[in-house]
């Protein structure tokens, strides 16, 4: 059962990733990426990461992707359509991709897994265990992410403000 779930969601994820790269209309790329994220959320569930699964669907597929769709709708789908074609760079990037694939494959062959720490699997990945980590050992990184979000929000407001000379 778990193997079937893994295989199906992996195939969906790879097909979605291909759709992101190949499709000419950016709106189709965005929708393919939503497909990839839903498939990856199934993978997170298989890896017993319930909270990351929920955040993946709510924040990523829900908020970030809708933001992309909003921007496409705001700019106008016709204006973001790719008109030009690549020249020799396609072949170079195909070579790069092959080299990277070989490198990753070689790395996967040499992965040395450490011995698992024998955690309580009933407690693993729950909201409670995430919260214990976030509010004890990782309190300062957690607070820093809130500052990062604040900076990003201020930056977005600054960049998209109405300028005096536009009026």
């Amino acid at each position: 059962m778990a193997i079937a779930l893994f295989v199906i969601s992996a195939i969906v994820a790879v097909l979605g990733g291909l759709g992101v790269v190949v499709s000419r209309q950016p709106i189709r790329s965005v929708l393919s990426l939503v497909l990839v994220m839903l498939a990856l959320s199934v993978q997170f569930l298989l890896l017993s990461a319930q909270f990351v699964f929920a955040v993946q669907i709510i924040v990523y597929a829900g908020a970030v992707m809708v933001l992309f769709l909003f921007v496409i709708a705001l700019i106008g789908p016709a204006r973001v359509l790719a008109k030009t074609r690549l020249r020799f760079q396609t072949w170079l990037s195909a070579l790069f991709v092959l080299v990277l694939l070989g490198l990753m494959w070689a790395m996967l062959q040499g992965v040395q897994y450490r011995q698992p720490e024998k955690a309580d699997m009933n407690f693993f990945g729950t909201v409670q265990s995430i919260a214990v980590g976030l509010f004890t050992n990782y309190l300062y990184p957690f607070e820093l992410t809130s500052i990062l979000l604040l900076v990003a929000a201020i930056g977005a407001i600054y960049l998209s403000r109405k300028r005096i000379d536009d009026l």
Binding site: V20, L40, T145
Partner: protein, 109 residues
């Protein structure tokens, strides 16, 4: 080789890592091949997602929560990156069309 017992069946941790690698490479290829700035941002999101999958897979293999915590942090960073990148893109499109990143090369030193 490190087998994980998930719902009674045996899955290997390297399967998840291989899927993560394939998705990352697809994203990297997209950044290289596509010229549309919006699609390049989307491909960066794809790569970040692939990295998240690797983090969560290692977290499950080690049975250590820190990988999942770091995946959450990287989701925050991805959201911030998408917001700022899209704001810059909207700002550019307000002035003119930019269906090709090569059109935006005036800023280089």
């Amino acid at each position: 080789m490190s087998t994980l017992t998930i719902g009674g069946s045996q899955l290997d941790a390297s399967w998840f890592l291989l899927l993560s690698a394939v998705l990352f490479i697809l994203g990297a290829a997209g950044v290289l091949v596509r010229r549309n700035p919006l699609v390049i941002l989307i491909c960066i999101e794809l790569m970040l997602n692939a990295a998240n999958l690797a983090l969560v897979a290692f977290s499950r293999q080690l049975q250590n929560m820190e990988g999942q915590l770091f995946a959450l942090m990287s989701m925050t960073v991805a959201a911030a990156e998408a917001v700022v990148g899209l704001a810059i893109l909207v700002d550019i499109f307000r002035v003119r069309d930019a269906e090709d990143v090569d059109d935006l090369s005036e800023l280089k030193g």
